[in-house]
Amino acid sequence: MHGLSFDIAHMLAGGLVLLSFMMLYQTRLYPLINVLSAHAFVLTASVAWQAHIQHAPHLYITAAIALVFKAIIVPIALRRMVFRLGLHREIETVVSIGLTMLAGMGLVALSLEVMLPVTAQSDPVAREDIALALSVVLIGLMVMVTRRNAVSQVVGFMSLENGINLAATGARGMPLVVEISVAFSILIAFIVIGIFLFRIRERFDTVDVGVLHEFRGGRG
């Protein structure tokens, strides 16, 4: 039984990493948002599975938040935003897709190399989860760095938060305070982003962060 529960947890965490890679090669906004949605679904499954094997019913709340908020509400809101603002559907990337994929592979290798030796004393589920979660965090960071469009930066940030949730639920018995607060702060963070996006729209008809830079002009 232990073998199976470990395998499923491992598969779900691995699925998250795989979906993170899918984010790296999306060059259009709608598919990117779909991947974000799928990412959150896999996170939900992973958190629910952790709740089951750890006998920690409070984790189901985290799973529910991930499902309702991150997999459904946020992607719908983002899609509406893209539609209503009439954004360009293509995402400008800073670095070419091939290079980012290679860098992403490097990051996964790095996080496994760093995390697996130091967590040798922890139980195997937590170990794998933490290592894979770090890969998801780092890839999310890379999505944010290599995309110029504000919406795709938000997507990168959300996937980064998903990675952190994976780590938090993988750490057996981590107090509830943190999970709820994480979810809650994501909510706040998202409202903030929403407000800002609309204000950005009011001012200069674009959410391309690269364009924002021009407004700064010669100010030192």
Binding site: M115, T119, Q153, V177, S185, V209, L212, R216
Partner: protein, 458 residues
């Protein structure tokens, strides 16, 4: 607990007051449409919070799993509430002028005052939190409220600054959370599952038995995460923009308080690492980042044209000095670090108050368009000169004492580092001297003494 004060009722709990007063005030201020009343209420609430913080000195509650007060954070709580009180007083006169020239509307102000108190709540919570998860939530709350306030002018520059601050701040804070989770993982085998493994006082007792390699990695994440919020050199990109584009009271609070709160969080984790003999020494990492920030910011100071941006870089420089001092550690290093933090908060917030008035009088933030301030506005001009002299570390002021302590203790232990450190100090001193002579002396530029800012008491 050192006995009760006679005139305070027994149910009064200063720790709750420090938290609940700002929280309640924030809710009330969000509903009040009268900005003049709001700014008064803002001051009053900050004053009550300050009084409660002062009460902690005589009536210290025993810690429990969520909140605690010890010798270390009591300094910060007091400083935090003191500076936010002075800032609320400055803010009252500042926003009156902003309303007059139409940069802010009464509706903006309602939001502004509510956010100000909410931010104060976040910072106080981060300081008294005994739970590393709760501390993280509080730092995040304080960050989000300041993001909203930086963007309040809604100009293109302000929005860009707020966006940049938001993105970099959230990434930093996300990394800090990852570090926090790793600390929990390190603590779990020793302390056991559940709440206890996130309580700081329990953690520090058992830190000796934690897995050192896990702690090391956790500290790297925490240093990067909270270090972003502190504004250490490679991670500082948000700081000058956020300072320059937001309202000046917010620049004062950012420099004087929020950087301190993030650094406080980092120092708590540094103490954990120091308590574990097998973990890497956090000192060298902090010394390297501190020196890098100091020297980098010192060079950058020469190229600034915007006065608030200029003092923002000076904050990066001082954060570098403080992190360096704590990296040197030892009784003198830590004392100097604490002293420098306190002095920097007080001096830098005072400078921003002055700069706020100067920028309002001159109608610009460009250093090139200011000049001859001591001729046109002698009081303001000389106050600015005094503030800059204080922040540059000239003798009669507090920063001199702490920097002197750092230099002597470094010379005794690592002479080579001391040379680099002094190089950075002299470099930034030159920049400060150059700019302050431009602004305070020299030929008169901009509007003369006819226009005055509204005093606080009106």
């Amino acid at each position: 607990m050192t006995g009760m004060i006679p005139f305070v009722p027994s149910w009064f709990d200063p720790v709750s007051a420090v938290l609940l007063v700002p929280l309640g005030a924030s809710a009330i201020l969000a509903l009040l449409p009268f900005y003049r009343l709001s700014s008064g209420l803002n001051m009053l609430a900050s004053f009550i919070a300050l009084a409660s913080a002062a009460m902690l000195l005589v009536q210290r509650p025993t810690g429990h799993v969520y909140l605690m007060v010890d010798d270390f954070n009591i300094v910060f709580i007091l400083l935090n509430n003191f500076v936010s009180f002075t800032t609320s007083a400055f803010s009252a006169s500042y926003i009156a002028h902003e309303l007059e020239i139409g940069r802010l509307t009464p509706r903006n102000l309602r939001f502004y005052h509510a956010m100000f108190q909410l931010m104060l709540f976040g910072m106080n919570l981060a300081l008294v939190a005994n739970n590393i998860g709760l501390m993280w939530v509080a730092v995040e709350l304080a960050t989000l409220t300041t993001v909203l306030m930086v963007g309040i002018y809604r100009t293109a520059e302000a929005l860009e600054a707020a966006w940049k601050y938001f993105i970099l701040g959230s990434v930093g804070i996300a990394l800090a959370l990852f570090g926090t989770i790793l600390v929990y993982l390190a603590a779990r085998p020793v302390i056991g599952e559940g709440l206890d493994a996130m309580v700081w006082t329990t953690l520090i007792e058992h830190a000796r038995g934690f897995d050192p390699s896990l702690l090391n990695i956790a500290f790297v994440f925490l240093l990067l995460g909270y270090g972003t919020k502190v504004g250490l050199a490679p991670l500082h990109a948000w700081l000058p923009d956020a300072h320059a584009e937001g309202p000046t009271p917010i620049s004062a609070v950012l420099s004087g308080l929020l950087l301190n709160v993030a650094l406080y969080a980092l120092l708590r984790f540094k103490m954990l690492l120091a308590a574990n003999p097998a973990a890497i020494a956090p000192g060298p990492l902090m010394i390297a980042l501190g020196l890098l920030s100091l020297i980098f910011a010192a060079f950058m100071l020469y190229r600034r044209r915007d006065i608030k941006r200029f003092f923002a870089y000076s904050s990066i420089e001082h954060m570098g000095i403080i992190v360096f001092a704590f990296g040197m550690a030892g009784p003198f290093g830590n004392l100097a670090g604490l002293l420098q933090m306190t002095m920097h908060s007080l001096t830098k917030s005072a400078i921003f108050f002055t700069v706020g008035h100067v920028a309002q009088i001159k109608g610009t933030q460009r250093i090139a368009d200011m000049g001859g301030l001591t001729t046109t506005h002698p009081v303001l001009g000389w106050l600015l000169v005094a503030g800059v002299a204080a922040i540059a570390g000239l003798p009669p002021f507090g920063v001199f004492t702490s920097e002197f302590l750092i230099v002597t203790t470094t010379f005794a232990r690592e002479p080579l580092l001391a040379v680099l450190f002094i190089f950075g100090l002299l470099l930034s001193f030159g920049a400060l001297l150059m700019r302050v002579t431009d602004v305070a002396f020299g030929e008169v530029k901009g509007p003369g003494p006819a226009r005055r800012t509204r005093p606080i008491y009106r």
